[in-house]
């Protein structure tokens, strides 16, 4: 059995009288330690799938298996525990707590986890050893996203979920962030999912899932993932 499995997952939203089907019978599988890129146009259901996988949203029907556990059937509190112990999230807009320094933002995550990593070491890993005591407002966008990644991986999660992590960054900085994510997946043997609307970066992944109209239309295994440095777009 695969490490992660989406089985006939449906998700409906009610917008007043109208029902919107965000996910319509979605199926895909991901193996442990894989770096996965999810591509597709906006509104295709990528983010919904990631939110469900991250324990931030409930399914309408279907099963979501993560490491042998069906998270679709978890109660609210169990879902929080799942987020707390198994998931690291990286957003497009960093979402750092403005009133905390970089290292404190990381500590915010590590203080609630059992198997967390040392915040200082993680900050070194993401290349921000010098900036630990800066507030978010004193950091550039790329640096802030590094802090966000550090905060996510410091929890030592099973899954690292990234929703458009380079969406707000320029080309060069975006590339550095993707490299950091790729390195993390390789070195730490972490399962990483990256959502992007930029299909050009797909070659960096072990697996590419294409979303369209609320379905995982195509799942492609990339036998020879390229290091991000070799990809141009």
């Amino acid at each position: 059995m695969a490490y992660i499995e989406f089985k006939n997952v449906c998700k409906e939203y009610k917008m007043g009288e109208v029902k919107i089907k965000a996910l319509n019978d979605t199926n895909f599988q991901i193996e442990e330690g894989e770096l996965v890129v999810i591509v597709g146009p906006s509104g295709a259901g990528k983010t919904t799938a990631l939110n469900i996988l991250g324990g931030m949203d409930h399914v309408t029907s279907g099963d979501v298996i993560v490491a042998g556990k069906n998270i679709a059937s978890l109660k609210n509190k169990e879902l929080i525990k799942y987020r707390r112990e198994d998931i690291g999230f990286v957003f497009q807009f960093y979402n750092l707590v403005q009133n905390l320094t970089a290292i404190e933002n990381v500590e915010l995550a590590t203080q609630i986890c059992k198997n967390s990593l040392n915040p200082k070491e993680v900050m070194e890993k993401v290349g921000l050893a010098e900036r630990v005591n800066n507030f978010p407002s004193q950091l550039s966008g790329g640096e802030q996203q590094r802090v966000a990644i550090a905060r996510a991986i410091a929890k030592n999660p099973k899954l690292l979920l990234c929703d458009e992590p380079t969406g707000a960054l320029d080309y060069k900085t975006g590339k550095q962030i993707l490299k950091l994510l790729q390195d993390t997946a390789r070195k730490e043997k972490m399962t990483v999912l990256i959502i992007t609307h930029n299909a050009a970066i797909a070659p960096m992944a072990d697996k590419i899932i294409q979303f369209k109209n609320g379905m995982a239309e195509k799942v492609e295994i990339n036998q020879n993932p390229k290091p991000i440095e070799e990809i141009e777009w």
């Binding site: 979402n95 203080q111 407002s137």
Partner: protein
């Protein structure tokens, strides 16, 4: 025009969608205006009540008395004076009423067209052999309407034609609005009650007093400047007349009537209070509107930008928020003033009616205070609103359409003090940082909680003081259970025999023989106590030095008297000073104060027998026996007093427990005040905290969504946000306890009645109550916060651009 209509509609929609915010501004305006208008209306309403009462009963403006008596000729002279409306010759005398061989002193007044009493029950006297009495009469004397009493007037045995009078009704006299009935040379010196007889029943042709009403005073309210001026003008002319003709007149106006003047004093202390209390509420109203309107403007930044881009002027955009705030404060203010006008004067009146016998209070809708209160709250709320909006509408549309940068993080001073900072754990550090991040909001939390705790503590403290009043007077200072007045016509031998018998009774622990009489010192009624020997009072009355608490005060043989604390304060005298008292013959005597003693109810002067004889030039004679019993229970005490009272030598017996019982009932009405303080304080705390919590959550929703995504449990999210609120609440409570301590003393100081000294104590349990009640209100708000936090939508909150 169309543009404005759209804006107006938008405002209405805004109110329905942000009703919580609207209601909190409304509630603060309600409390502010309610307290302001209600408290400020109370004093005028009370004056209005006594004014109406006095006008209806045709109460005098000027009273003239003379030691030599007044005659028809005097009336005619006064009638000639310019400005005088009517002149009435009147009679009053003190009389003894004997009921079952007990003596009571009554003021016998005559019915006239001036100072008309109000009939409460029964009929007015039609015949000479009828009389009406006051309600208090029945409390002491076991008689009913229809019964007959016999009156003995000592000095003028021929004062009344008919001395056997049938009681036909109960009246209330405007001359005696307070419980004070004045002093007399009869009995213990204290007048027990008044009765009215017909004018025809009175024999003498010499008047005891002349009452004058003045032309034009009915146009003005009593105690107003115009009224006083009118009275002074005529009073001056009467004084001139008295001097010219060498008449021995005492000329008084209403201010010398002790009931009236203490009533006026009380209205003045309420007025003082009305200047302080509303300030707290207005200040909080400003803070609440400031935070909530600032947040509202921030939330609608984009909309403001869009409207600006569409061509709306800054003025038009701001008008939406001004209309919103205006609605909230005008609606709240109008509801508040209506509640305030009705509720506060009535409640305060309820408290005061225990001391005054008067008709129901006239509640008026005081336009001046209504407009002033509403105007002030409008300035506070709308001013705060304008302050919040003005910066935003000045921005360009482009700036407005861009989101506002979040409040940046900053190091706080404490971080530089490394030894302390290092010791804090992660969440403590975050808390400290946040406290300094939202200074305005946190200052408000402290002020809100401070106001709440201090009002509650002041309320409970007031109750404590009042409940200590009786035990302090009748257990700590007075240590006797029974006060027995002896008949005046006993010979010294009869008296001595009776006293030696009573002191041998098995129920009796100890007795003190004293002489007791009344006098006035600068309009204050004072009881004089002269013990037979200087050690007589030991264990019966504790004379405790008010400053050193030393209870070994001794009466000095020669000069120097002991006076009670409140009297010393009213007269502004200290040990070593002299005071002037009036003796039974209205002559002034000087007394040197040797000591000031602790005392809580009424005023007393203690002096030695030698001193008394010297000052009064009279032989000493005991008239009252104070009895300390051997801890009898209620039943035994009753039996004992029944036994005593049945003895021929005894005039009256007053049980301390009876006095305490009567006063205790009246004190209970003060619970209203405590209740009103607690309810308003609670509302205050609730509105402030609820408002702050809402603003806090809406401003930090992104941060909170983030920590939820990180996997914080609901409880952890809750404590992440409320940890600082709790810390600030604790600070607020501590400050509030200190503030309440002083507020309590301020209230007591302002409200204290002349004849009483409220003990300045707050029970430890009151501090506990103040803290607990504040905590309960905080907890209620925190529960609401908990659910609001639970409802935060992570995905929605994190989606938008920052």
């Amino acid at each position: 025009m169309k543009l404005k209509k759209a804006l107006f509609k938008d405002t209405i929609k805004e109110i329905t969608s942000t009703y919580k915010r609207f209601i909190s501004i409304m509630l603060m305006s309600l409390l502010g205006v309610g307290f302001f208008a209600g408290l400020r209306a109370t004093s005028p309403d009370m004056i209005d009540t006594i004014d109406q009462y006095f006008k209806q009963q045709n109460v005098y403006d000027i009273q003239i008395m003379s030691t030599t008596g007044l005659v028809q000729d005097d009336i005619e002279k006064i009638e000639q004076i310019d400005g005088v409306k009517d002149v009435y010759g009147s009679y009053s005398n003190d009389g003894l009423i004997e009921v079952e061989e007990k003596e009571y002193v009554s003021k016998i007044l005559c019915l006239d067209e001036v100072n008309k009493p109000v009939l409460l029950e029964g009929n007015m006297p039609q015949n000479d052999n009828e009389c009406v009495v006051e309600k208090k009469f029945f409390e002491q004397i076991d008689k009913h309407i229809g019964d007959t009493i016999e009156i003995k007037t000592q000095e003028y045995m021929d004062y009344l034609n008919e001395k056997e009078l049938k009681i036909v009704g109960i009246v209330e006299s405007p001359l005696y609005v307070s419980s004070e009935r004045g002093t007399t040379k009869l009995g213990t010196g204290q007048i027990d009650s008044y009765i009215y007889v017909t004018k025809e029943n009175i024999i003498p042709y010499i008047y005891t007093e002349i009452y004058v009403t003045i032309e034009g005073t009915d146009k003005y309210k009593t105690n107003s400047k115009q009224y006083e001026d009118k009275v002074d003008e005529v009073k001056g002319k009467i004084e001139d007349l008295s001097e010219e003709e060498n008449l021995n007149w005492y000329i008084f106006d209403r201010n010398q009537n002790s009931g009236y003047s203490s009533f006026i004093q009380d209205t003045e202390s309420i007025e003082k209070l009305s200047l302080v209390f509303p300030i707290v509420f207005f200040a909080i109203a400003v803070l609440v509107s400031l935070t909530s309107m600032t947040r509202m403007v921030e939330e609608e930044r984009q909309e403001i930008g869009t409207l600006k881009a569409l061509g709306y002027s800054g003025y038009q955009i701001a008008s939406k928020y001004v209309i919103y705030a205006s609605f909230a404060c005008i609606i709240g203010g109008i509801i508040g003033m209506n509640i305030g006008f009705q509720l506060l004067p009535r409640m305060i009146w309820e408290m005061y009616t225990v001391m005054y016998q008067m008709p129901e209070i006239n509640i008026s809708y005081n336009h001046e205070n209504a407009i002033l209160g509403l105007g002030l709250i409008y300035i506070c709320v709308v001013g705060a609103t304008c302050y919040s909006i003005i910066k935003e509408v000045k921005e360009t549309p482009a700036t407005l359409l861009r989101p506002k940068a979040p409040k940046i993080g900053k190091r706080v001073l404490l971080e530089r003090i490394t030894p302390i900072w290092k010791r804090l754990n992660f969440s403590q550090k975050v808390t400290v940082r946040n406290i300094f991040r939202y200074k305005k909001r946190f200052l408000m939390t402290i002020i809100g909680i401070f106001g709440c705790t201090s009002l509650i503590l002041a309320g409970f403290g007031l109750k404590d003081s009042i409940s200590k009043l009786l035990p302090n007077q009748y257990e700590k200072v007075f240590n006797y259970e029974m006060q027995i007045s002896l008949k005046t016509d006993l010979t010294e031998e009869q008296k001595e025999e009776w006293i030696s018998e009573i002191s041998k009774k098995e129920e009796v622990e100890k007795i003190a023989e004293i002489y007791m009489t009344s006098t006035t010192v600068e309009d204050n009624d004072v009881q004089i106590i002269v013990p037979k020997t200087n050690d007589e009072l030991k264990d019966i009355i504790n004379l405790i030095d008010y400053k050193t608490e030393n209870n070994e005060i001794r009466l000095q043989e020669q000069d120097g008297v002991v006076i009670t604390e409140k009297l010393a304060e009213l007269l502004d005298v200290k040990e070593g000073d002299t005071i002037k008292i009036r003796d039974g013959n209205n002559k002034e005597k000087e007394l040197k104060i040797s000591m000031i003693a602790e005392n809580y109810i009424y005023h007393y002067i203690y002096m030695s027998k030698e001193n008394y004889e010297k000052i009064y030039d009279q032989d000493y004679s005991t008239n009252v026996i104070l009895v300390k019993d051997k801890e009898l229970n209620e039943k035994e005490q009753d039996d004992f007093s029944t036994e005593i009272i049945s003895q021929n030598e005894v005039s009256t017996v007053i049980l301390t427990s009876d006095i305490m019982g009567i006063l205790d009932n009246t004190m209970n009405s003060l619970n209203y005040v405590v209740l009103i303080l607690i309810v308003s304080a609670g509302l205050l705390a609730f509105v402030v905290l609820y408002n702050l919590s809402n603003v806090n959550i809406s401003e930090r929703v992104r941060e909170l969504a983030t920590i939820k995504v990180l996997g914080f449990y609901d409880k952890e999210v809750y404590s992440y946000v409320t940890r600082e609120t709790i810390l600030l609440t604790i600070i607020g409570i501590i400050l509030g306890l200190v503030g309440g301590y002083f507020l309590n003393f301020y209230i007591i100081g302002t409200c204290e009645i002349d004849a009483m000294r409220f003990p300045k104590v707050i029970d430890p349990i009151s501090y506990v109550y103040a803290v607990l009640i504040t905590v309960v209100f905080t907890v209620i708000v925190n529960i609401a916060t908990y659910f609001a936090l639970k409802k935060i939508d992570m995905i929605g909150s994190l989606k938008s651009v920052e």
